[in-house]
Amino acid sequence: MVRFQDVSLRYGAGPEILDRVSLDLAPGSFHFVIGASGAGKSSLLKMMYLANRPTSGRISLFGRDVSSLSRHDAALLRRRIGVVFQDFRLLDHLSTLDNVALPLKVSGQRSDEIRKDVVELLTWVGLADHLDAKPATLSGGQQQRVAIARAVVSRPSLLLADEPTGNVDNRIAERLLYLFEELNKRGTTIVVATHNEALISRFNYPVIRLVRGEVRLEHAETLIRTSDMPARAPVDHGTRDTSLPVEGNPESAG
């Protein structure tokens, strides 16, 4: 699904951000990317969603060498990748509905089909009552859900999330990861970049640790747990709450 072979990256004449990184993420896998601030987590993800090209090395996505892609094919490939940006990148002049519909619109889907899919998805993330709301009128958590809905609306094969838990408390962050876990169970390959080691230690997924531009593959269970984040008890997947809490709705917020 995602293969990096000796990939290095530097911006201009600056230092090496990533140094000869090699990794191979299998289809349907779930990985966390962790590392200190500035370790290169975002840069790694940017190369996965083709925002950056490596200085050297080779990247393959969905079995295709990205360096040989035409602009047209690169655009088609990007449609198979959903991205939850750290700063959400919602368009202020568009409604919730239109923001989420954007990937479908650029891929040329019909308007009536788009509306049906988007309303369904926004209902799933608890924003059915905010279809016409502009991002500025939404809370941070709601904006995040809009960003997630936009990332998954086109049913991507690969979902990349850059610090999705950065702006929410641990309870919402944990539910967010459960949501990603659900998507992963449906076949989506997930890569989540975060600095919240305590949170990801509750999930049993491999971890890509970035240290000074190099990667080390670890297992989540080897991470140190913090006292305020107890290890996750075995969970019955059938009853797990993957809905995201809606502000002002205590029941939903659970």
Binding site: R53, R78, R79, L102, V106, I114, S154
Partner: protein
């Protein structure tokens, strides 16, 4: 819903607000330049058609004591010579009253014209395919009437043609410069738009929009602005032409050309807004595609 709305909110930009008015000025200048060229071309064509195939023979009226009968005799002799010359289709004497009428636009209606020593003029129609030699004809005329001259109008017409061509070249240059300026303005405005909305453009790019999709956002906007500006410019130009036509009509003089446009010329003027819209659209598209090509 989204399909009715532009993803890139260019309409709310201050950067594009002045573009239609600048396009209007450009189209106005281009329209006037085109009309000037078209009017000049028509005048020259009229003169050219009027004067080609014709020469004028001037027989000087000297202060000597030639009687009216002698003058008539030598004129008849010249007419006979001309009519028998190969390449001459016809030769007709222009009467004194007719000659005086030719001078009226310059000198006005005055009884003093009859006192002037006007030359005897003979209008000669020649075969354009096989014209007579002006030099040999002049030599034979001089034998009959010393001082006789032939005016084939070529020097005068040549100067006018040069002037007309110069005006046409200047008009073409003005249109070219105006077009170039419009292109530069659209490039500038499009780049400003791209800079202002870079986040949106980048987002569209990252979620899989083709370059053409993003370019359409900008080119459609430019098309509208270019068309609106073109309409305003042509409307102003039409008003100006109408005003000048009225002024020329009131002047009532043969020295000034009539400024009337044929239907085809009005169609050309009417096409200017479409041309400005097309230029704006294509320029915006190419600018966006060029900028996007720098994004990996």
């Amino acid at each position: 819903m989204l399909l009715r709305k532009s993803v890139v909110p260019l309409n709310s930009d201050a950067t594009g607000r002045f573009l239609p008015w600048l396009v209007a000025v450009m189209v106005y200048l281009a329209a006037l330049a085109l009309v000037s060229a078209m009017a000049m071309s028509k005048i020259v064509t009229r003169w050219d058609h009027g004067l080609s195939g014709q020469i004028t023979v001037q027989l000087p009226v000297s202060e000597s004591d030639l009687t009216e009968a002698e003058i008539t005799n030598r004129r008849e002799e010249v007419l006979t010579l001309l009519q028998q010359s190969p390449g001459v289709l016809s030769a007709n004497h222009i009467g004194r009253e007719e000659t005086a009428a030719l001078l009226e636009p310059w000198l006005g209606q005055t009884s003093g014209l009859s006192e002037l020593p006007l030359p005897d003029l003979i209008a000669v129609e020649i075969d354009q395919l096989d014209p007579p030699s002006t030099a040999s004809l002049t030599a034979r005329l001089i034998e009959i009437v010393p001082g006789a001259t032939i005016d084939d109008h070529q020097r005068w017409l040549g100067n006018l043609l040069n002037l007309a061509r110069s005006i046409e070249i200047v008009a073409a240059l003005v249109v070219l410069l105006v077009g170039l300026s419009a292109v530069i303005m659209v490039v500038f405005v499009t780049r400003m738009g791209l800079a202002v909305h870079y986040q949106i453009v980048e987002l569209l790019h990252l979620i899989g929009a083709q370059d053409g999709y993003i370019a359409r956002e900008f080119q459609t906007h430019s098309l509208k602005l270019g068309f609106f500006g073109g309409l305003v410019g042509v409307a102003l130009a039409a008003l100006t032409i109408f005003g000048i036509t009225r002024l020329l009509g009131q002047a009532d003089t043969a020295l000034l050309p009539a400024l009337s446009l044929r239907p085809l010329e009005w169609v050309i003027l009417g096409a200017l807004p479409f041309a400005s819209a097309l230029v704006a659209m294509v320029t915006a598209r190419l600018t966006v595609l060029r900028t996007l090509s720098r994004i990996p």
